[in-house]
């Protein structure tokens, strides 16, 4: 049993520490990007049309990291300032499903192709879901 415990410990250390520099690097990288996100909202890029709002929302959501609650707050603020529901929804969905800053860690964990394809697909889905939800809300509310 002791042999098994030690073997499991070695296996865990090996896997865990191989991912540690990538996780630290990714956190450092995201800490560089985060302060710029609120500034993007001041540029006036939002509110042109639903399609560009959706792409911009999904784009910002993709590079953002943090608790989903932050995306609700930002989404709420954007909605109050006139951004379309499509843009807000794309931001909220992409925030939790796409992770550009997580990409290096995801690539190490599951393979580069898997990570890139999954994130591209999730970006596309964020835009599609945004249009579905906004469309249904438009009809029902």
């Amino acid at each position: 049993m002791i042999k098994q415990i030690l073997q499991a410990g070695r296996q865990t250390s090996s896997g865990f520490f191989s991912m540690l520099p990538v996780m630290l690097g990714t956190l450092l990288l995201s800490s560089l990007l985060i302060p710029y996100i609120p500034r993007l909202f001041e540029t006036g890029w939002f509110g042109q049309n639903p399609a560009s709002d959706a792409l911009l929302g999904a784009g910002i959501g993709s590079i953002a990291v943090g608790q989903p609650v932050v995306s609700y707050l930002l989404g709420g603020e954007l909605s109050n300032s006139g951004v379309t529901l499509v843009g807000v929804t794309a931001l909220v969905v992409a925030w939790v499903t796409v992770g550009i800053t997580h990409l290096p860690v995801e690539a190490v964990a599951f393979g580069r192709r898997f990570a890139i394809v999954r994130n591209l697909l999730s970006f596309l889905f964020a835009v599609v879901i945004a249009f579905i939800i906004a469309g249904v809300m438009h009809v029902l509310v």
């Binding site: 969905v93 997580h102 995801e106 690539a107 393979g111």
Partner: protein, 188 residues
């Protein structure tokens, strides 16, 4: 099918991945970017580092817990069991487990990558992995807050869409993997 990784190739792959210094080069590159940033805009750099330290102070204790959980997982998990629940023959049971697992999973994604990496190495299907990662977008404790900001109808639509698209994401990922000779999990 490459989604079942109990072929004997995986340990070799993992060993070579563990020996790789790519992660350290990546960390060094990011540190250099921070250093450059410190020279150009010290205020922004300090703000970024403050944010980083704040996140790290929150994550460090959880990393300890994660290490312990991974140790227990490696000690008790049997590849056969994992293959049974989440492998190629898991069927609808596998989908239900991975989607419910994704919804129930808490904490930062960083904490889940090592565990999912181990699950995949022990035979978890790529489709179920993709479904797990996508369904994490539904955070049950956060739903009341979402209702507060966006309303009940919006929240209901959000949850239904995320769950449906998590299945779609898994199906598409598996189709793409089948259509790619070397699969989607290479690190070349």
């Amino acid at each position: 099918m490459s989604s079942c990784n109990l072929t004997g190739e995986e340990p070799k792959k993992r060993a070579s991945a563990n020996k790789s210094h790519g992660g350290w080069w990546f960390l060094l590159a990011v540190l250099l970017v921070h250093l450059g940033m410190w020279q150009i805009a010290p205020g922004l750099s300090a703000e970024s580092l403050g944010y980083f330290l704040q996140v790290m102070s929150r994550l460090l204790p959880v990393f300890g817990l994660l290490f312990l959980l991974l140790w227990l997982f490696n000690l008790f998990a049997r590849p056969k069991q994992i293959k049974h629940w989440l492998g190629g023959q898991s069927g609808s049971r596998g989908w239900i487990f991975s989607i419910l697992g994704g919804v129930a999973s808490m904490g930062s994604m960083y904490l889940w990558y090592p565990l999912l990496h181990d699950l995949k190495a022990h035979g978890m299907r790529s489709s179920l992995l993709a479904a797990f990662l996508y369904s994490r977008a539904v955070k049950i404790p956060m739903l009341p807050l979402m209702v507060h900001y966006f309303g009940t109808l919006y929240t209901g639509l959000y949850v239904v869409n995320i769950l449906l698209f998590s299945v779609l994401s898994g199906v598409i990922m598996e189709r793409l993997e089948r259509g790619t000779p070397q699969g989607l999990d290479d690190n070349d």
